[in-house]
């Protein structure tokens, strides 16, 4: 019996177990509406939901694909018109917002009733989902997580005769190598930048924490970017652009920096930090070899940006038992093939993430880095996250563009952020 047969057999057993009556959910019937934003997984999702239909013939799933940038707006509008879906998937970006608005069902009673084994998940991705922190109240279960990675152009390293990055690197080492990897043309223009520095949450915020600073106060009610450790970190990132000139100006386009890093893909940048979600897009690279390494450690510790994509249940759903069955299925039974296609999304279930089928789906060669990074992962999400992050980025950008001293920009950032966090 080979491995796929074993996993198929296991899957069948799991399906049978799921179909067995247990607790109060055995009679779950009726329709469940479910919205998802994973565009490139839509085919796999439909196949997977067909399997659910076989195991749970009494539950009808009405699944709908919503483009990622519309999901939030659509959900909010749906709540206003009382037509919210029973389940939907949400990034941590908006999770706390939904909880605060009272839109989400507290899942803890269901977890307790069914004795759902939360130990199956990576422990630290669950921690972030408890509201209030440490309370054990979960309004979501994770389906996958994403984590920041240091992407690097292997050919650029080979040409410069520099060893590839590894877990031993800190940020000074990164700056050092970035200087050596920055190549200028005869006319002064830059043929290849060593790195891309920016005030995005995927890079700046964790580095501030890693250097012993803070972004927000513990109660998440005030901004701490004016603290010396934070200012020093921002200065370091600004210097990469303005003084060391190893990085281009921070680009405003999210396609560029967060989602689809065109500059790295075009070979114009040798090292680049963004989320694991970019792997799907990076696989289009044909002109050079690339790999990933762990995000370097700061002066105090190592902190890496990351967080779970989750499935949540509407507090106004009419079919709670049916919705709960599907929620469990989506978060705990999603097969490894779903994650391995395109990679980028790390399975939230430990056993799935350590399966060979996932780990050996390359490039990148070092998929294990995504698992090793999980221990250092911090999301930093709060209510009004998008609003204060946008304010942070826009105010700090004046320093990144060299138009304002860092201290002044940080002060302006904190004034704007405090106003958002302290609003009723």
């Amino acid at each position: 019996m080979n491995r796929t047969q074993v996993s198929k057999g296991l899957g069948l057993v799991l399906l049978l177990l799921l179909a067995l009556p247990h607790g109060g959910s055995a009679q779950a019937t009726g329709a469940v509406t479910y919205w998802t934003y994973f565009t490139d997984k839509w085919d796999l999702e439909q196949k997977f939901l067909a399997d659910f239909k076989k195991a749970r013939p009494n539950i009808t799933v009405q699944a709908q694909l919503i483009p990622p940038d519309q999901l939030q707006q659509k959900t909010v509008t749906a709540f206003a018109s009382k037509t919210a879906p029973d389940l939907w998937n949400t990034a941590p970006t908006f999770y706390y917002e939904f909880v605060q608005r009272g839109d989400l069902e507290n899942l803890t009673p269901y977890i307790t009733r069914d004795k759902t084994g939360l130990g199956t998940f990576f422990p630290n991705i669950l921690t972030d989902l408890a509201v209030p922190p440490g309370s054990g109240n979960y309004y979501a279960l994770p389906r996958n997580y994403v984590v920041s990675l240091l992407y690097y152009n292997k050919n650029a390293f080979d040409k410069a005769g520099i060893g590839y990055p590894d877990a031993s690197w800190d940020w000074n080492k990164l700056l050092d190598v970035a200087k050596r990897l920055t190549i200028r043309n005869a006319d002064g223009t830059v043929a290849q930048f060593g790195f891309v520095s920016s005030p995005w949450h995927t890079m700046l915020d964790p580095l501030i924490l890693a250097n012993g600073g803070r972004v927000l106060s513990d109660d998440q009610k005030s901004c701490r970017l004016t603290d010396p450790a934070a200012v020093k970190t921002i200065q370091f990132m600004v210097d990469m652009i303005q003084r060391d000139k190893v990085s281009p100006n921070p680009t405003q386009l999210k396609e560029y920096i967060v989602e689809s890093p065109d500059a790295f893909k075009a070979g114009k940048v040798a090292m680049f930090i963004t989320g694991s979600w970019a792997i799907t897009s990076m696989r289009e690279i044909k002109s050079f070899d690339w790999d990933v390494a762990m995000v370097p450690k700061g002066s105090a510790k190592r902190v890496i940006y990351g967080g779970p994509d989750t499935i949540v249940m509407s507090s106004s759903t009419k079919n709670k038992s049916g919705a709960w069955e599907l929620l469990k299925y989506l978060t705990m039974q999603t097969p490894v093939s779903w994650y391995a296609a395109g990679m980028g999304l790390v399975p939230s279930v430990q056993k799935t993430a350590t399966a060979k089928e996932w780990l050996s789906s390359t490039p990148p060669a070092h998929t294990q880095v995504m698992l090793d990074s999980a221990t250092f992962m911090v999301g930093g999400f709060t209510p009004h996250w998008l609003e204060w992050q946008t304010a942070k980025r826009n105010t700090l950008n004046e320093a990144f563009f060299g138009q304002k001293p860092v201290a002044a920009a940080a002060k302006e950032a904190c004034a704007a952020i405090d106003k958002i966090l302290q609003a009723k």
């Binding site: 281009p248 100006n249 680009t251 999210k254």
Partner: protein
């Protein structure tokens, strides 16, 4: 022939009344639709602008607090200034360009229809597609515009949408490019409705082409100009798609305009009340500017 007596006139009156009622009955669906889908939301959004709706499930009445908060917010004034910046540059530039194109396209040349179609073409493409196309062209490293600048002038081009200074000019350029052809057609219609005998008379009196334009064509064209000016002002105060697609209001808020700010506030940050207040401020600005246009028209618009 029977004389129309009192009886007949009352029959006619009744018929007229019936026709009126019938006519109004035909309007009912439209009136109903307008009331439901237009007037309803208008009234609702006025009310929402006085509340904190969107922050949670509990809604409270705030009075004028949303409007006061705008007045004291530095970001609002930045957005306000950005919107004026966009308008004050894009409207004159757009008018000049479309008038110029109209004068060119008004020539009697072989294949002029083709040129008119080419100039008109951008206005039939969706703004989102236009903005996406130009964001590729404006890409500082890989875009065609900076490639040309590098090859021709041997200097690196501006960072365009990645630059605090150049982002807004880039957005303005895209807006002007997209609408020039559309406004050209309106100007062209204006030009062709002018009385040619006036031109000929002026030419016979020895007026050169500039004098003919300045004293004959231009006065005749002023009603068209007023129309174009009003729709361009309204359109540019509401600029949204370029910001949404090309810059998301950045960098450093350099391109955050009123419409996009309303969208952010309402659908990204959930401050429906605040966003509604902002929308009514924009509405007031557009109303005042348009009213001003109509008040000032007496001084420069010449009706034949």
């Amino acid at each position: 022939m029977q004389r129309a007596g009192p009886h007949a006139s009352s029959v006619a009156g009744r018929r007229r009344l019936r026709e009126t009622l019938e006519g109004q009955a035909f309007l009912l669906p439209t009136i109903f639709g307008l009331a439901l889908f237009w007037l309803g939301p208008v009234v609702a959004s006025v009310l929402i602008s006085f509340t904190d709706w969107g922050n949670g499930q509990h809604v409270s009445w705030l009075g004028l607090a949303n409007y006061r908060a705008l007045y004291t917010s530095p970001l609002f004034w930045k957005v306000f200034a950005n919107t004026w910046y966009y308008t004050l540059v894009s409207v004159p530039a757009g008018m000049l360009l479309s008038l110029g194109l109209a004068l060119l396209a008004n020539q009697k040349l072989r294949g002029i229809g083709l040129f008119r179609a080419i100039y008109f073409f951008p206005s039939i493409i969706s703004m989102t597609a236009v903005a996406l196309m130009w964001s590729f062209l404006f890409n500082p490293d890989l875009g065609f515009i900076n490639y040309v600048i590098r090859r021709v002038f041997h200097v690196p081009g501006p960072e365009w949408v990645n630059s605090i200074q150049w982002a807004m000019p880039a957005l303005i350029f895209v807006g002007v490019w997209k609408w020039a052809g559309y406004n050209m057609v309106i100007f062209l219609a204006g030009l062709q409705s002018l009385d040619r005998s006036l031109q000929e008379a002026a030419a016979m009196d020895g007026a050169n082409s500039w004098q003919r334009f300045r004293h004959v064509t231009w006065p005749g064209l002023t009603p068209t100009t007023l129309f174009v000016l009003v729709i361009m002002l309204i359109g540019s105060f509401q600029v949204f798609e370029q910001t949404y697609v090309m810059t998301e209001g950045g960098p450093a808020y350099a391109t955050l305009t009123m419409s996009y700010y309303i969208y952010l506030d309402a659908f990204q940050y959930f401050h429906m009340g605040q966003a509604a207040a902002l929308a009514y401020v924009l509405f007031a600005v557009v109303c005042i500017v348009t009213a001003l246009q109509f008040a000032l028209q007496r001084r420069w618009v010449f009706y034949q």
